[in-house]
């Protein structure tokens, strides 16, 4: 470590710890996930940046929304995000979470991810290159250092807003896993 960083690290050791242990939830939402295997494996090796995939949301703190989000997936994303422990960071990956992308007039995909979840950063492009993920990760480090990556706090503070938007598109989503809702003959 650089000697100049010691003072900063001692000022906020928690931030320093969180910065270099980003565990990305292994959740594949759309076509963008095709970029994830090369990122986490030998070609680009995300472990250099302290990013590793984690199979369960209860041990992860970085949520990459890779690609378009259909309504059915949105329910699972909200459920997954709620399970993640604080602090947690959401990064929208690709054009589709930003504004719908090429699915801007599709009947079954959401258009603006930040209406339903607090998003800390976006990676634009269709597809973004794996390098873009590292640019985003470095940018996220800076945000954590400066205390700007506070999406999870905003989610708590403005939960009414997020919940209202979530209910608007998913009126049948249970408030918590296992809650009984009025079934409409939906069988999987």
């Amino acid at each position: 470590m650089d000697r100049a960083d010691i003072a900063k690290t001692l000022k906020s050791p928690a931030n320093w710890g969180q910065k270099y242990s980003l565990w990305a939830v292994y959740f594949c939402t759309g076509c963008g996930v095709i970029e994830i295997p090369p990122v986490i494996t030998s070609r680009w090796d995300a472990e250099r940046f302290g990013v590793l995939p984690m199979a369960t949301p209860r041990q992860g703190n970085l949520f990459l929304i890779t690609g378009y989000v259909s309504l059915k997936t949105m329910g699972a994303i909200i459920r997954t995000y709620d399970q993640m422990p604080d602090p947690k960071y959401v990064v929208g990956f690709g054009s589709c979470p930003v504004n719908g992308g090429m699915y801007w007039d599709s009947y079954n995909t959401i258009k603006h991810l930040d209406k339903y979840l607090p998003v800390d950063g976006w990676i634009a492009g269709c597809m973004p290159r794996p390098e873009a993920i590292f640019v985003a990760v470095v940018h996220l480090w800076q945000m954590i250092d400066k205390g700007m990556a506070t999406g999870y706090q905003k989610y708590k503070e403005n939960y009414e807003y997020y919940e209202r938007n979530q209910r608007e598109i998913l009126p049948h989503l249970p408030k918590f896993a296992g809650e009984k809702t009025e079934a409409v003959g939906q069988t999987l």
Binding site: D105, Y107, N108, V184, Q186
Partner: protein
Amino acid sequence: MMREQEIKKAIEKSTDGATVTVLKKGRILVTVPAAAAVSTLICLKAVGFEHLSAISCTDWLEQGELELVYHLWSYQDKVHLMLKTRLARENPQTVTAIPVFPHTQTYEREIHEMYGVHFEGNPRLTPFLLEHWEGPPPMRRDFQMRDYVKEKFGVEERIS
């Protein structure tokens, strides 16, 4: 082309009202009335078309018809056969092909959801891919997709 002509003769012999066209080597197009579709499938399966790859549906809005296409493949002859049949667009109904090809249940379920075609005898025409859908079948061409999207997801004000 020899084998294709033999298949053509076999279909024409067994099915009334079937129009068979050999498009090129390894490609046959069969058009039948909707009532004869399943019996033609039985006949085709006996001729060697033992693989049904997919059922697709097309909405011909101008003619007021929906077109079902059964894609069949014969491993022994290396022939791709398209069995086309048309249904009325209003209240479309036909008979299920489950007794002939059991896996058509999923295709029929999807077409039922996306186009509103009712397959008589399919026991599982329940919602499939859409999440608590309440609108009209979305893949029909008269479905006003942009109006629906504006209503469902809201319009973002343009920042100028």
